[in-house]
Symmetry: D2
Subunit: 301 residues, 4 copies
C-alpha cells in the first residue's frame, strides 16, 4: 500500500497510466467483511480503484458489487488475478467476473425493417461511444444491408418463413456463435425468440420493447397505448427470457404525448425513446454495470 504516493506522482493522479481497466463484478450472499476482503485483496497488490459501487438486497439477502481497477496498477493480468483471488472468492461464496476493457465484447445485432435503433447504435459505435466490436448484423429482411455494410459490418439475411422458423433460429444461433458473439441485441427484431434460444444465452440477449413495460406487452404497443389514452409513452430495454416481454428490465424511459397525437405520431415520437433507451441499456451492459437479481436488475450508475 505504501507505494501509492510514488506510483501516482505529485498530483495524486494516475494520469500517465493507460486507459485499460479491469472491471470486477461480484454477487454473493450478503455478509460482513465482503467489501473489506475484496478491496483488501486489490489494495494488497497496489491496485488503484477508480470506481466502486455495491448494493445489498434485503429481500433476497444477496450482495452485489462492481469495482473498476486501473490495469497497470496491478502487477499481474486477469489470469493470475483469477488464481490469486480464489481464496477470497471461496470464503464468501462469490459469483464473480473479471472483465478486461481491452477485450472488447462482440455484439451481434438482430433487426427487421425498422432502422432507427440500428442506425443509432451504428452511429454511436462508429464515433467511439459504444466500446465493443460489432462483427455481424442479422435480419429477417434484406432491406438494411446497405446501411450495415457501409460500416464495414457483415450483414446476413436469414429467411423466417413460417415453415422454417426453428431452422431460422438455429441458423441465428449458429451465426452468433461463429461470430464469437458475447451479446445479442434485438434492435426492433420482430420475431419472438424460442425458449431454448433464450435459455442458451442467459442475460446475454437484450431487447428493446416499444412500451413502458409491463403495460402493452406483445404486439402493436403504440396502438394499445393510443386506445387506452395514456398521457405518456415509453420504451423498455430488458434481458430476454422465455417469458415474452417479462425479462429483467435494464432501463426505461417515458415521454409526454397529448390527445392530438395519433398512432402515427406515437410511432414517430416513440422511435426517439426506443433508440436512446436501448443505447443506454447496451452501454451499461458493456460496462458491466448491470447485475441480474432474480427477475430484477441492479444497475450501478
Amino acid at each position: 500500500m505504501s507505494g501509492s504516493a510514488a506510483s501516482t506522482g505529485d498530483t495524486g493522479q494516475p494520469a500517465a497510466r493507460s486507459d485499460r481497466r479491469y472491471v470486477l463484478t461480484v454477487t454473493c450472499p450478503d455478509a460482513t467483511g465482503i467489501v473489506a476482503a475484496v478491496t483488501g485483496f486489490i489494495a494488497a497488490h497496489g491496485g488503484w480503484v477508480v470506481e466502486a459501487a455495491q448494493h445489498g438486497d434485503l429481500t433476497t439477502g444477496r450482495f452485489f458489487q462492481r469495482i473498476v481497477v486501473l490495469a497497470d496498477s496491478l502487477p499481474f493480468g486477469t489470469e493470475e488475478f483469477a488464481v490469486r483471488f480464489t481464496d477470497v472468492a471461496e470464503e464468501f461464496d462469490l459469483d464473480w467476473h473479471l472483465h478486461d476493457t481491452e477485450q472488447k465484447r462482440r455484439v451481434v445485432i438482430l433487426v427487421s425493417k425498422e432502422d432507427h435503433c440500428l442506425a443509432d447504435l451504428l452511429h454511436r459505435w462508429s464515433g467511439g461511444d459504444l466500446r465493443c466490436d460489432i462483427p455481424l448484423v442479422i435480419s429477417n429482411h434484406p432491406d438494411l444491408r446497405r446501411l450495415v455494410e457501409r460500416y464495414g459490418i457483415d450483414f446476413r439475411h436469414v429467411g423466417f418463413d413460417a415453415d422454417r422458423r426453428a431452422a431460422a433460429f438455429a441458423e441465428v444461433a449458429s451465426l452468433f456463435d461463429a461470430a464469437g458473439g458475447d451479446v445479442m441485441v434485438l434492435a426492433r427484431f420482430m420475431q419472438i425468440l424460442p425458449a431454448d434460444l433464450c435459455a442458451r444465452y442467459p442475460s446475454r440477449i437484450i431487447n428493446i420493447h416499444h412500451s413502458f413495460l409491463p403495460s402493452f406487452a406483445g404486439a402493436r404497443p403504440y396502438h394499445q397505448a393510443f386506445q387506452r389514452g395514456v398521457k405518456l409513452i415509453g420504451a423498455t430495454c430488458h434481458y430476454v427470457t422465455a417469458d415474452l416481454d417479462a425479462g429483467p428490465i435494464i432501463e426505461q424511459d417515458t415521454t409526454r404525448i397529448d390527445h392530438a397525437d395519433n398512432v402515427e405520431e406515437l410511432l414517430r415520437i416513440g422511435r426517439d425513446i426506443e433508440r436512446s433507451v436501448l443505447a443506454r441499456g447496451l452501454r451499461w451492459h458493456l460496462e458491466d454495470r448491470v447485475l441480474v437479481n432474480g427477475n430484477r436488475t441492479v444497475v450501478f450508475g
Copy 2:
C-alpha cells in the same frame, strides 16, 4: 365587431375589465364551419376571446372545442347566451356547456388515512391556486379531521364496515348531494366505488391511482412495481367508471427510481408524483380543459 377598438383602449388590451370569464366547451360530429359559426356568434356580440383550442378526432369523427370569453365583453349573461346560442347549437348538433368562472365549482374530497394528497389540495386551495369551493371532506377514518377543520371545512366520518358498505356509499352520495357537490375527488380513498355510484356522476368523480396505468391496477401498486423491477414509477389521475382503474385518463407522470429503492422508498417518492398529478388533473377539470372522448380525454393546455 367595430366596437372592439374602443372597448379595449389604446393598448389593445382589456386591462380594465374584470377577471370574470365564460368558458364554452363544445363536442359534436366534426364538420366544416363549426369554428366559424361559434366564433362568429361570439364576435357578433362583441365577445373578446382570450383562449381557444380545438381538436378533431379522426378515429371517432368527433370535434372538441374550448373557448374562453371575457364576460364583460358580452352584452348578456349565461342565461341569455344559452337562449341565443340555440340556433348554432342545433345546426351543428352541439353538445355544449357554458361555465361562468364566478360560479365556483363545489369539490367534495374523499380520503382514507394517507394525507399527502389531501394536504396538498387544501394548501393549494387556501393559497388561491385551485379555483373552487371545498365544502366537505368525507373519510372512512376519523384521523384527518383536525387537518380538514383547520381550513374551516366540514369533515364527515362515514363508517365502512363490511356489513354496511352499501349504506356507507349511499351516505356518501347523500352527503355529496347535500353539499351541492359538482366534483368528487378520491384523494387516496381506499374503498372501491360501486358501479351505481360511478354511473350517477359520470365524468365528475376524479381518482388518483398510485401507478402509471394500465400497469399495476388494483391493490398495492408500489409492491407490484418493486416486484417487476421497473425503473420508473408513476401516478395516474382519471375519471372513475365502473371498471376499476380503467376510466378515461386525465393526467399521468413518472419519476425515476433505482435498485436501491425498496418499497418504502417507492411509497415516499410516489407521494410526490401522486399529489402533483392529482392537483394538475383537478385544476384542468375545474378550468373545463378536460373533455371526455369515449374512454380517452382531450385536455386543452
Copy 3:
C-alpha cells in the same frame, strides 16, 4: 357552409382527400373578432379546418394564430386565396403567411466537424420524418463529405481561414441563395455569423446551442457547466440574431448528470439532447408552428 356534410361523407371525415394542406399563420394587434373573421372566411369557402391554435400576448397586445386547412376542401389555390383574403387582412392589420405543404421548404445545413446533429437530421429526413428538401450542406471542414453525399446531397467545403472570414460568409450566403434556401440550420457550426448575415435572413437561421441558455452562452459550454457544478445540462434551439446566443428560443431541454460525469461524459450525454432539441425545433419551424414575438416565440403544439 352547407356543402360540408356532402363533402365529408357519412363518417364526417375527409378520409378520401389528399394529405395536402394550407397552413395559415397570422400575427396582428389583438382585437375582437379576428378568429371569427378568419375562420368565417375559410368556412364561407367550404374550408375544412384540421388544426387551429391562437395566442393573445397581454404584454405586447399582439395576437397569434395558426390554422391548418385541407387544401382540397377549398375551391381555389394559394394565389387566389391571397387575393380574396385581402379584405380580412386589411381590416385587422394582419401580418400573415400561407404555406402550401406541397411546397417543401429548402433547408441548407451548416456544420463543422461534429456529426451527431447532421447525421440525425439526415436520418430523420431520409425516413420521411422531416418534411423538407435538403439541397445542400456547407462545412468549414471537408470531413463530413462522405456522410452527406451518401444521401445524394451536395456538399460544399468553404474555407474559413482568419483572413477570409468575410469572403467565406459571402460565399455561404451566395451558396444558400443559389440553392434556393428557405432555412439555414447551424447543426454545430462553430463559426460566429456576422451581423449582416443574421439580418439578411431574419427568423430563417436556426442554431443549436449546447447549453440551457441563457446559462453558458459562448464557447465551451460543457466545460462551463462542469466548472459550475450544475446537476442538469441542456441544449437550446433558437433563431440566430446579431446578439450571440441571444435570439428567440424555439425549444430547450435538459437532462440529469451527476458528480461522476466529467467533461467528456457531459459532451457525450449532451449530444443526445442537442440532436433531439434541434430536430424538434426544425420540425416545428417547417410546420409553421413557430411565430416570433419580439425576442420570444409562440410555439403552437
Copy 4:
C-alpha cells in the same frame, strides 16, 4: 470477519437489528488503499456495511467516500470509533465525519412571506419523511406564525428594517445558536445574508433559489425567465456562500412551460419545483450524502 454468518442468522440479513446507523463520510487526497483501509477497519470490528459509495475527482485529486454501518454490528459507540479510527485517518490524511442517526440534526428554517416551501417541509417532517428536529422558524414577517406553531415549533419574528439589518442578522445567528442549530434552511427567505454569517456556517446554510442557476441569479428570476422566453423553468438548492447565488449546487430540476404561461403562471408552476428541489436537497444533506468539492458537490445517491 469469520463471525459474520453467525451474527446475521440463516437469512444473511440483519433483520432483528435496530435501525440505528453510523454514517461515515470521508474526503482526502486520492491514493491506493483508502477503501481497503477504511472497510478493513470496519470489517475487523464486525461492522455490517449497508451502503457504500465513493468518488475520485480527477480534476482535483480528491477522494470522497460515504459508508453506512449498522450501529449494533459494531462493539463500540461513536466516541470509541473515533479513537480507534485515528490510525487509519492519519495514514491517509482523512478529513472525516461520523454521524449517529440517533442524533437528529437540528434544522432552523428562515422564511419570509411565501409559505409553499415551509409548508412542504413541515408536512414532510411531521409525517416522518425528514429525519431531523425543527426547533425554530425565524421570519422577517409575522405572517406565518400560525402555520408554524400548529406543528408545535417556535416561531420568531425578527424585524429587518433597513437601519437594523446587521442587528437583525446578529439576532438570527444568536437564535440559531441558542436553538442548537446544525443546519439553516432559507425556505424562500428574501434577505441577502451578509458575508460574515455565510462564513460562520460553511456548508451548513441551504438556500432554494427560484431559477435554474446560473441563469437568472438575483431578484425576480421568473420575470427574467419570462423576458428571455425560455421554454423550461427551474429551481436550485445550494449551499450559501458570500457570493450571491453562486455557492455549491446540491440539487436542481426543471419543468416545461410554454408561451401561454405568463409570469403569474411561472410563479405558480415554479412553486412545485422549488419545494421538491429543496426537500430533496435538505434530505440528502441530512443523510450525509452531500460532500463539498470546491465549489461543486458530490451527492451520493
